[in-house]
Symmetry: C2
């Protein structure tokens, strides 16, 4: 009640864009983006909702900043790493960052304004590929196919209502039971014989596809070098 908050023990640390964004990311990680409200976010910072509007024009700007911050978490290749292990490691890092912040994938679709974190990221990747002798157009192809694959894979992986393979078995079992098996013979067979197998692993499935793509790019690069393109 009383106005007794003197001494410089800073009654509360002042709001900054950075504090807002990291609180927002934390909140989204815990409860999902759907539950990320201006009022809830403000409360988690010990402040009123309207204070946020002093630092951000609207909720959309906060979402943009969250996406950019997530991107900045991804490990970047050094410019003269070998391209293949570098791309492989970076794809794995991107996957794990996106799995940590599953809401980010859906957000990226709806807010394409690239921030500085995103551009820094892109620049490093293009640089690594160009140094490895990729032509401009092959660099663009490589970037497109790798990123499409990673986003698509993680978005399917994270959309599924389970994490461990035991949970997978439970869910898949449930689906199978309630399904007219004779109407979907191949699907049923597949679920029963493959996804229910205890050693099924998203991490391995991810690497199979990724290596298929990287090997394909390696072949294109070799062909390009022998053709002498730029």
């Amino acid at each position: 009640m009383a106005a007794r908050v003197k001494k410089d023990e800073s009654p509360r640390t002042p709001l900054t864009p950075e504090r807002v964004v990291s609180a927002a990311i934390e909140l989204a990680d815990e409860k999902g983006v759907a539950k990320l409200t201006m009022r809830g976010l403000a409360a988690s910072l010990g402040v009123e909702a309207m204070s946020l509007y002093y630092h951000f024009a609207n909720k959309g700007k906060i979402l943009d900043a969250m996406v950019d911050a997530v991107f900045a978490e991804v490990e970047l290749p050094a410019k003269d790493d070998e391209w293949k292990p570098a791309m492989r490691a970076r794809a794995g890092s991107l996957r794990s960052v996106l799995l940590d912040h599953t809401w980010a994938i859906a957000l990226m679709d709806s807010r394409p304004d690239p921030g500085l974190g995103t551009i820094t990221h892109h620049d490093a990747i293009i640089g690594c590929l160009r140094s490895a002798g990729f032509s401009m157009s092959l660099t663009a192809h490589a970037f497109s196919v790798i990123d499409s694959y990673v986003y698509g894979f993680v978005s399917q992986e994270s959309g599924l209502p389970f994490q461990s393979s035991e949970e997978l078995a439970d869910v898949a079992g449930g689906i199978i039971e309630s399904l007219p098996v004779e109407q979907f013979p191949h699907f049923s067979e597949m679920v029963a014989a493959y996804y229910l197998h205890p050693e099924y692993s998203f991490a391995e499935e991810f690497l199979v596809g990724l290596d298929l793509i990287l090997d394909g790019l390696e072949r294109l690069r070799a062909a390009e070098v022998s053709d002498g393109e730029s």
Copy 2:
């Protein structure tokens, strides 16, 4: 004002789940999912918002049904089509359906309950690959890598704030201008030299990556056949 709607000219056709779902899809196509509200959807059907709750438990169920209906639009391979052209055509069909209903990708992430349309779809694809001699595990790999790629590609493509390559040039030009070029040399070079090129085309970029993947699968299949796996 008066109660004058007799004769069986049916003052309004009765609500059915199908009518609700197709009105919802139309509305989402026109204005985006964000603008798809229970009140707005009801209004577009000449009905009050609460009427929808007689046919669907909640908004989530409507979203589930929308996703399933979109999936049912995708062209399916016949069981004994050659696998490669069949997968190529189906990937193209999936891309174009998803481009027609860009909201569907984001929705699929958040609502993984597969409906009958989705399962029918999966069943046909698995059947086609199995008939072509793919082992169970290679079928799973193929499915995973192709779909991940298509979803990821389209989600990036549709997230961009332009459609034609002239618009691309405009936007990319704007980004470049406002960017500290010396800080992002590779990114700037790429945008200037490649994406700004007038003949850049998403459709072609899509096919380059897709064919890279299909060729890789072909190689794995050949290796499998000569090994005699099942």
